[in-house]
Subunit: 357 residues, 4 copies
């Protein structure tokens, strides 16, 4: 029943973000991967670049050329850096082709937030957005927060990896008003794959093994992103001090999130609040009190684990959230969004049990 398959093209197929989606699509019953484009390694079989795909995906990587973008596709995924998708999205949508972008190009409906984000992202030099008119129609791709809009969207901005881990952790508490929205502190830890496939000194094994490396201290663009989204979700201006760290793992994000409670409230009540928000979500687990096993417990899956603690002496809420940065933090959420945009069952093809240990 080849004729019923939806056709997907991935632009930026040779990075880890594209790879995460390809690995999943190899087993997706309703989707055909019709073409892969990239800037590097063009003309090579994907399995030459990623030998683990030998026998699974022997597609030839095509060059990113204007005329090839959208070719033979119902939906195009831009697994590309910032400022690529913004040049192609309008024309694709006009041709009836849906678009998901991994970068920050379409995460913000408010241009001012985009500008703050862009100012913090290294190498972006505060350049202006090239397609600001699309920001009104683009939807932020966190299904747990914006499911209906995504179902009807032609253009989705897939969230940042740290951003989604922070947003899912804080949304119930901020919406309910139990937290002071100006008191939020986040300490994030990510595996090195969050920095992508390009070798650099900070990602060099010799340098990163046996270290924990803070970076962009109180100055990371995903802090800005989460502030914007949570302000929108909660209706009050949210301020976050966010310090990310790179730790010696290849995958996995953990965030420890701290906020001042506006009033005395028991852990039980807060657990209840979170269960109400997430009990119907297929990919969010609110763990029992005291259980916080870290990102290894979600490795290889699309899950987000949330654990809640109250520091009574200081009247603070501590939230621990854990994701696989390449799945729930990127390609897994992207596939949720793809399924929603194509009218498929949201969980199709996203059924991995975490791989442990």
């Amino acid at each position: 029943m080849q004729q019923n398959l939806y056709r997907i093209q991935i632009v930026g197929a040779t990075g880890y973000g594209g790879l995460g989606l390809i690995e999943q699509l190899m087993r997706h019953p309703n989707i055909e991967l019709t073409s892969l484009l990239a800037k590097t390694d063009t003309g090579m079989q994907l399995s030459k670049i990623f030998p683990h795909l030998t026998g699974f995906c022997d597609h030839i990587v095509g060059e990113v050329q204007d005329e090839r973008i959208g070719e033979n596709a119902d939906l195009v995924v831009f697994a590309t850096p910032d400022r690529v998708a913004m040049n192609y999205a309008a024309s694709l949508i006009q041709r009836g082709i849906k678009v998901i972008d991994y970068s920050g190009d379409f995460r913000f409906s408010d241009l001012a937030v985009y500008d703050r984000y862009a100012a913090r992202k290294p190498g972006m030099g505060g350049k202006p957005h090239q397609a600001p008119e699309l920001l009104k129609q683009s939807v932020y791709g966190v299904p747990e927060l914006f499911r209906e809009k995504i179902q009807n969207a032609s253009l989705v901005g897939n969230p940042g990896c740290f951003a989604i881990a922070i947003e899912l952790a804080l949304a119930p508490a901020l919406r309910s008003g139990i937290l002071n929205p100006q008191s939020i502190i986040v300490d994030g830890k990510t595996g090195t794959s969050g920095g992508g496939k390009k070798p650099s000194t900070v990602n060099h094994f010799s340098e990163q093994s046996e270290n924990v490396l803070p970076y962009r201290v109180a100055n990371h663009q995903h802090g800005t992103e989460a502030e914007g989204v949570l302000t929108h979700v909660s209706g009050s201006p949210v301020g976050i001090t966010f310090v990310p760290h790179q730790i010696p793992t290849s995958r996995g994000i953990e965030c420890a999130i701290f906020g001042q409670l506006n009033r005395e409230i028991s852990l039980e009540k807060i657990q209840e609040l979170y269960h109400e928000s997430y009990s119907h979500e297929p990919f969010v687990r609110v763990l029992p009190p005291g259980v916080a096993p870290g990102p290894k417990a979600v490795r290889g899956s699309n899950l987000c684990d949330i654990s809640l603690f109250v520091d009574q002496a200081n009247n603070r809420l501590v939230i621990i959230s854990s994701i696989d940065n390449l799945l729930k933090g990127q390609a897994g959420t992207a596939l949720q969004n793809i399924n929603l945009m194509l009218g498929l069952e949201e969980t199709t093809g996203i059924n991995r049990v975490p791989l442990y240990p």
Copy 2:
């Protein structure tokens, strides 16, 4: 169609070997996991022991009691240490229940080989086999070598993790007679999960990180196991010097295997020989010349990767084989065996693409 599901019981459910099978069975369309028994943590939900299974497997772990073994099961998997299954197998088979054992109890049709194996295994003290009469009917569980026998077997001895990596790598060469069977040297490397879930000094993170630890040098029981199986497969007595190492990874086995070539033969011819042996195998990949990406390229999958090299100056063959020790090295091959024994399609439920990076 619950009535069509085969019922499986796992004894020794709380170790990594049982876990590997449980993770796979959560998605198996034809199998129902009816009970889990163990010696420790009985009475607990499995998801309390392994929080990553929260929401996937909330079975209560039952106690290993004689009368419960085989209860409500078409097939029992013993994911137990040596000398457990040998006490139960005969009675289960008599009741028409099939048996797979992870230990060395049923890997050897020849009692003398078992005794050599048992003499090397730490803690076994050369005790005699308790059910030697079953060795004639038990089948060694490497489907690529003994598929038909497994399909008709009631009792399968699942192979040792290093042993299967060595056997798949050497079988074609030894069968064809191109190698001197007395010249084999194997240097193995395994992640720490091969040593099981029980904490010990050699598996302690502080000790094992940043180290590579040789152990049981030229004295590991999997060397004996592979010698026995390869002698049987090739028809000539095989002698192996095997040195295993523990490396700082949680999963993965790589073996570098060296053998003297009996005559000059090109790499191309040897590649051909291996392709003939394995081109129809769903879980063995003979990689192109020069490609040997290591066990990370099979992580999370049931694949065995084989790479071939010729050292012309010394007329030696070098074979690199890589597996995920918990899947192809244990629970993945076990599921292949289960499928074959139950008359199911061999690959059912074993469809993970390797998870990379």
Copy 3:
């Protein structure tokens, strides 16, 4: 000139804390290690337990017996768990033998703080102190804060590893009054050696690799310890929400510390403040603005690195402090204390350059 050597005995010599001191003392020109006592592995050469010491330290480990404690020693180091040294200290001091204890027994002059500490420490069950009368004369062993008292002390309580990293980072800011002392949040990360040499599930390589594990969330005894010390140092009650994590490294601690600024103050002013506090300290480095290389930059050394950041939008100070948990976090500081107590030059024998990468 053997007659001029000070004689040291280590009780608890077979753990990582004792080991860290032994490694240093092998090269100390003024100290002789006269005996090693322990509860386990007694009668063995130390180099059988720690093969890396072969040829360096072939002492036989003696049994911890009352009559042997203090034998042939000018100073006894208790590298033991809580509630050991408290049984021996009074008698040793009476005999003119100086005492350093690694545990919490003598870190607190205030019994109420000790009780809060003891309530949080796992396995201590809130038992009462056995030698409360000594708390008045014991000195807290952070030379950068209490140097003179240590020089005159007979009894020193060596600090907790996280505690010293937090205290050195916060002392200048809290003393100067620029921070709200009730607003402190600390996210700590430690290598597994902080959990000691005893194997356990949380320290098991297979479990800890590729994970980051929060533990005792907002409930760790080193938070209490730092609160007590910093309250004493600053003169105002300090409240800390402290969340420690175990990361997949064997050594190294990093703390990200957040505090609300009481007034607008530039990063330059704060750098100045810290340089004033620490420019004469041999083992504290206040790094240039923007530089925060993590604990790998102090590995193998007795250094504490401090980096300062201001989050202007939220008016918060962020301090990053990094130590080698087994040296500055334990055995390095202990040797500073030993040198001070014995009237030796403080830095003697503590001269390792960090080992990188």
Copy 4:
């Protein structure tokens, strides 16, 4: 007594090999590091490139310019890639300046061996040696094998990291004639720092973590180097099949070495043979039977550990040798050579106890 210090210049000061030497020289009582030259990061303080050296070495890195090479130096160390030192050595020696080179330029007295080495080294394209006339006077820098020659040398070729680990392990056995010199097989494992400081895909944390990567299988230049040296040492042509692997550690080399015994000989006799060779060596430890703790036991030190095993069934000797690849494998041996060439006590400044765990 500044006037009594020997002056050393390091060319290639910003790589790991230069760094290893700098870290040691910071504490050397008889040597002054007068200048550091490099091709990259010139004009920067070394402590900006390597923040762990802050306060220890704040030299400015100078540019590699012909006229600066040898400036203000009694001895120049080329911590540079192949084909750099060969352009400068003759002129330096003429000026009375001694030279140590880390590359293969001066490791071979026999040009034919150099050519085989150069043919295997990636990127060297079999180019001819530029100073073949110096090969007769250069000395191979393994003090345990060529101590006297090094003491009298003006030009020393420091050994390859794998090569020295293989040579020290095999020299006693091959010299004594107990091994078949054509039967040698070596399986090597190295941490990633052996590949240098330049980021690349194979050294990328995300790729290398949780993997073990064979490379240059039976085709690595250090195999050729060891063949040449051991042929020279033993007087019979030695043939080695050498397969190196990269493992997920930053430092450390382990080699498992296999050879056919020419006659039956007990392990005790072989241990004796090795003790005779090495009992007076300050940096080689022949470990007791059965003890083989791996390279973590020599980390941070200049030691080479050797463990011996006999596989009686196959009449093979198995030797395990372990070194810190950046110290005994490079900068530690270099400092031994420096001390010898300058007439200093060989062990001066090389006194680190291994850092464990």
